[in-house]
Each structure stands twice: as structure tokens, then as C-alpha cells.
């Protein structure tokens, strides 16, 4: 079985966000780029599945829609242990555009399991996995918190209100995973880092797809107000403030 892990290239989560050109563009000057944290966990789980599969899983590929400057981030995924990578040479304009590009790649390459992080930490679109499912007419489940491959079928767990849901699916299948799918992202070892450049990184030219989104303006969220500390025995004051200031009760 071949697994594809879809991967976004996102600013490091500690980046100070700034905008340029009259707040119409994200200012990426000096930004450190990383693998989207959800995708990093997805890749970690995919690697664990391959290692425990006794040879049944033969290949882990990562795919990214991005220009050439995303390649260092792709190589981080190769250093972690992915076998090869695909980059669709286009700016990732919106979730629809990305999903359409990835769908083309999957049609050409053929993967039995596709793993997507539930969202990306930059635009929080949360839409690529679901759209892929539609484009490919492939079953998908979202908010997956445990993923296994047992006797040729996919077994998944997801958190639901008051408990856990356990589902299984035939392949091909799309798992849209959340944090918890793996405890920590895998730290690449020296061998992985040194061989990352020698692993195949295929570049596809993008399919003709028009994005459906236009960015008009970026705004920063309002600054968080200072935290007020109330003594644990002063419930009256807490209720008063929640009522008059926070206006939540």
C-alpha cells in the first residue's frame, strides 16, 4: 500500500505576523517556514504505520502545493522519513485550488491511503481533506484521532460527544487527522537529514484551476486585554465581572 501525506508549508507558529502592501498581503520577510503541525503529526503516524506494517505499506509520499521556496520544508519531511515527495509548482491560493491540484496528483500516482492534517496553522481553512474526498469520490472521515491499518483495512477512532467512535473503512480512503493522531512529531535522525537531498522530489506543473477566493484585506485580531485575577474565595466579584464586563452571563 502507498500512503500520501498532504503537507502545507506554514510560518513557524511563533512568527510575528505582519502585513504589507496596504494590508493586502502577508509579509513573509524573515519568516521561518515549517511543516504544518497537523501534517507533521500525520506524517509521523504514517511512518509509524509503515514501520509496523511488516512490509505491507511500501511507500510514504508527501505532497505540497507551493513554489520552489517550499522545498526546504519538503526536505524536512523527507528527513523525517518520507520516501519521496511531490511538489505542485503553484502558489497555494485557496483550499479549493490546493485540493484540485492534489486530486490531480492522486489520480496520476494512485495512493490507497491519503492522510491530511485537519487544518493548516496559517489560514485555518480546514477544507482541503473534505474537498479531496469530493473530487476523488473517495470515502473520508474527519477529526480522526487514531489511525491503524489492520488486515488490509483502515481502522480509525474519533472523539465524539461523550465518547469515542470506532470506524473501519476499505481502501482507498482519506483520513483527516487531528492532534492526538501521534503524541509528538518525529525528530529526524542524522541519517534522515543527510539523505533528504538524495530522495526523489518530483515537480508537477499545476492543472488549470481557477481559485474561488480573493483576498481583500488582512487585519490583526484585537489585542488581548490584560488578565484580571480574582481571588478564589471572591465568587461574587467574579460573577459581577462576568456579567457586567465580559457580558457572558
Amino acid at each position: 500500500m502507498k500512503i500520501l501525506v498532504c503537507m502545507s508549508n506554514v510560518p513557524d507558529t511563533t512568527t510575528k505576523i505582519r502585513f504589507k502592501d496596504g494590508n493586502t498581503k502577508f509579509d513573509d520577510a524573515g519568516v521561518q517556514w515549517v511543516i504544518n503541525p497537523w501534517d507533521e503529526l500525520a506524517l509521523t503516524r504514517a511512518l509509524e504505520l509503515k514501520e509496523g506494517s511488516g512490509g505491507a505499506i511500501t511507500r510514504i509520499t508527501v505532497a505540497n502545493v507551493g513554489l520552489i521556496d517550499t522545498e526546504p520544508t519538503i526536505r524536512k519531511a523527507l528527513a523525517m522519513g518520507a520516501d519521496d515527495a511531490i511538489r505542485v509548482n503553484a502558489e497555494p491560493l485557496d483550499a479549493y485550488f490546493i485540493a484540485a491540484q492534489l486530486a490531480e496528483v492522486i489520480k496520476k500516482e494512485g495512493f490507497e491511503l491519503i492522510v491530511c492534517g485537519i487544518e493548516s496553522s496559517d489560514y485555518n481553512n480546514c477544507a482541503v481533506g473534505g474537498m479531496l474526498s469530493e473530487f476523488l469520490q473517495m470515502p473520508s472521515v474527519s477529526s480522526v484521532s487514531a489511525l491503524d491499518y489492520i488486515n488490509g483495512a483502515i481502522s480509525i477512532k474519533r472523539e465524539i460527544d461523550g465518547g469515542k467512535e470506532i470506524l473501519s473503512s476499505e481502501i482507498p480512503f482519506i483520513a483527516i487527522v487531528q492532534k492526538g493522531i501521534s503524541i509528538n512529531p518525529r525528530i529526524p535522525n542524522m541519517r534522515g537529514i543527510m539523505t533528504a537531498r538524495t530522495k526523489p522530489l518530483k515537480v508537477y506543473q499545476p492543472a488549470a484551476v481557477e481559485p474561488l477566493t480573493e483576498y481583500t484585506v488582512y487585519e490583526m485580531p484585537p489585542a488581548k486585554a490584560a488578565c484580571k485575577k480574582i481571588s478564589p474565595d471572591n465568587v461574587k466579584e467574579l460573577v459581577h465581572l462576568l456579567h457586567t464586563e465580559a457580558k457572558v452571563i
Binding site: P72, N184, P188, N189, M190, I193, M194
Partner: protein
């Protein structure tokens, strides 16, 4: 001049940082307080490839450059300098010595395991021969097909946890430093005994002992290099060792600086975070400048080594300045933490 790191160097730095900040930090204070050797962590960083990162891949190593080594050592030592010193002694002294001067058989037998689950110790210092390495009293008498070792070595890092020793000893006292030899010896060789775990001021979880040799038989094939090569061997090896210790000291300094900056942004006095007071801000600026200077000196020495240029003087300067910086910056970091700095729970104390 090029001040940019390569993609691989940055990945190594991040891997070391991730491991240190995620795993090493969990029990570092307890390990230091109770002088517990970081067995599991050394195993984990071996699996990640750090313990053999400079060794030729032919012998199971990572084949990394010295710049990467400094970056990794800094990140690990920021959190736990004991782990830093175990790694530094293994790589800079033991692995380097074996790789550069060992025979093919010695490399296969002793170097290869040091890149996997074993690590080594370097036995040079004696009660009366520390920096004055020429005054070796440990004797390695030539008995024909073996050497007979007798003597005592002091302040030996990893003396108990290591499985392989490189021992410097005198074979021909009349020839002075030209009579010295270096040997690779397994720690469990009969006749080797350890003194008690030294109670140190810091880096308590690295195991430091004295090591006694009583009629220890060492086969001839365990000598490194020609007869009398030991002093040169030690000098050559220690040149690179200084880069490792500089990287470790740099980590101690930059770790203390990071904690001081963080604390100064949290702690308030006179109505504002203390980093806004010039008394603290000036201190932080001086500390950050010194840490960067130590970093540049250390990386420069590492770069010279990687370019196969002479690096002895550069590595000595780096070690001197980085060690002085570690002493000074940690004292200042304790000052910035005020009373909390003197308390072990705040980590900056160590």
C-alpha cells in the same frame, strides 16, 4: 564570508533543540540534584545519531561537519550540559582519536560501537598531570607482546558509564613526552577499578571518577599509532576537544540567557516587566553580545576544522572565551532572577 547555515545544519540544530526542549528538560533538575546519569537520554540521542555524528558513515557515523556538531551541542547543553559533556568527550576525543589515528581493526572493533549504543572516556589527567600532560606518571611497561599498566587517572568524565577508554601513559620515562603512548582499552579489563563518583559543583549527572590501573595487561595491538606517539595523539585530539567544550559552554551561556530574557519579560517590579528597566536591559544586552561573540569564535574554530585549516589557536580562544562567558552570563542570569535564581527549581541555578 558566509554566515548562513546550510539546510542540513539548520535541521540538525532544530532536531537537537526539539529533543532538548521536549525530552531532556523533563527531569534535568532532578538528575542534576541526585547525580543520576542520563542513561535513557544518551540512548535516545544515540538513536537520533548525535553520539556518532562526526564519525565517517563507513563506521556507522553520521558524517556531519563540525559546525553542525557545535549547533547540536549548544542546543543540548542549553538544557543539560551533562549530556553535552558526555557527547563531547565521546565525539571530540574518543571517536576522533580512533578515527584519525586508529588502525582499521581498531576502528571496526572500538569506533563502530561508539556510534551506536556505547560511549567512550578519555583518560589523560592525573593527580599531578592535568594541563601539564608531559608529566604522566601512569606507566605502560613494554612486556613484549603486551603492555602492563599501573597508575591513577583523575577527573575522568564518563569513567563509569563508558565502555571504552583511551588511556595516555608513559612507556619510556627517559624520553619524556616522546616516550608517551595512547591505548584503547575496554573498561571491564581486569585490574581497572574506579574511585567514588566525584561530588562536583555542577554537571552532576555526568559521572566523574578517578580510575586506578593495577597490573592491567594491554595487548600490543591496542596501542594507537607508533611507539611514542601518545603525546602528539593527546595534543591533536585535545585541539578538537576544545571546540566541543566551547560548544558546551556556549550552550550553558545561551541557555541561561534565554531563561533570563524569559523571566525578565514575566517578572514585574515598579509597575512594569523588569526587562523595561535599564538596569536589567543593559545587562541582557551585554550578555547577548558576549554569547554571540562566543558563538562566532566557536563556529569559526569549527569551520576552520571543517576546511582542514589549522584550528588549534582558534579552538583554544573559543574555549577560553566561551567558558568565561558561561561563568559570567550564568552569574548575571542568577542576578536577574533575584532570589529565585538561587533556587534549584528555577534551573538557572545549575
Amino acid at each position: 564570508m558566509n554566515f548562513e547555515f546550510t539546510e542540513e545544519q539548520l535541521m540538525i540544530q532544530k532536531a537537537a533543540r526539539d529533543y532538548a526542549q521536549r525530552e531532556l528538560i523533563k527531569d534535568v533538575i532532578e538528575r542534576d540534584e541526585k547525580a543520576i546519569f542520563p542513561t535513557e537520554h544518551i540512548k535516545a540521542i544515540s538513536e537520533l545519531g548525535f553520539m556518532g555524528m562526526l564519525v565517517d558513515p563507513k563506521y556507522g557515523g553520521g558524517g556531519m561537519d563540525t559546525v553542525s556538531y557545535v549547533l547540536a551541542l549548544e542546543e543540548l547543553s542549553k538544557v543539560d550540559a551533562s549530556v553535552g559533556v558526555v557527547m563531547s568527550v565521546n565525539l571530540s576525543l574518543v571517536c576522533y582519536g580512533l578515527q584519525e589515528f586508529g588502525t582499521e581493526e581498531q576502528k571496526e572493533k572500538y569506533l563502530r560501537p561508539l556510534t551506536a549504543d556505547k560511549h567512550g572516556a578519555f583518560l589523560l589527567s592525573e593527580p599531578e598531570a592535568g594541563s601539564d600532560a608531559t608529566s604522566q606518571r601512569t606507566l605502560a611497561e613494554d612486556k613484549g607482546d603486551y603492555y602492563l599498566l599501573n597508575g591513577t587517572k583523575n577527573w575522568i568524565t564518563s569513567a563509569d558509564s563508558a565502555s571504552v577508554y583511551i588511556v595516555i601513559a608513559q612507556t619510556h620515562p627517559e624520553k619524556k613526552h616522546k616516550g608517551i603512548n595512547a591505548f584503547v582499552i575496554e573498561k571491564d579489563t581486569p585490574g581497572i577499578t574506579l574511585g567514588p563518583h566525584e561530588k562536583k559543583m555542577g554537571m552532576r549527572s555526568s559521572d566523574t571518577h578517578s580510575v586506578m590501573f593495577t597490573d592491567v595487561k594491554v595487548p600490543k595491538e591496542n596501542r594507537l599509532g607508533e611507539d611514542g606517539f601518545g603525546f602528539k595523539f593527546a595534543m591533536k585530539t585535545l585541539e578538537g576537544g576544545r571546540i566541543g567544550i566551547a560548544g558546551q559552554a556556549l550552550g550553558i551561556a545561551s541557555g541561561a540567557l534565554e531563561r533570563a530574557i524569559k523571566y525578565s519579560k514575566e517578572r514585574k517590579a515598579f509597575g512594569t516587566e523588569i526587562c523595561n528597566h535599564q538596569a536589567i536591559a543593559f545587562k541582557l544586552a551585554d550578555m547577548a553580545t558576549a554569547v554571540d561573540a562566543a558563538r562566532f569564535l566557536t563556529l569559526h574554530a569549527a569551520w576552520l576544522k571543517d576546511q582542514h585549516k589549522p584550528y588549534g589557536i582558534a579552538s583554544a580562544k573559543a574555549k577560553l572565551f566561551a567558558a568565561e562567558t558561561a561563568m559570567w552570563v550564568t552569574t548575571e542570569a542568577v542576578q536577574i532572577h533575584g532570589g529565585y535564581g538561587y533556587v534549584a527549581d528555577y534551573h538557572v541555578e545549575s
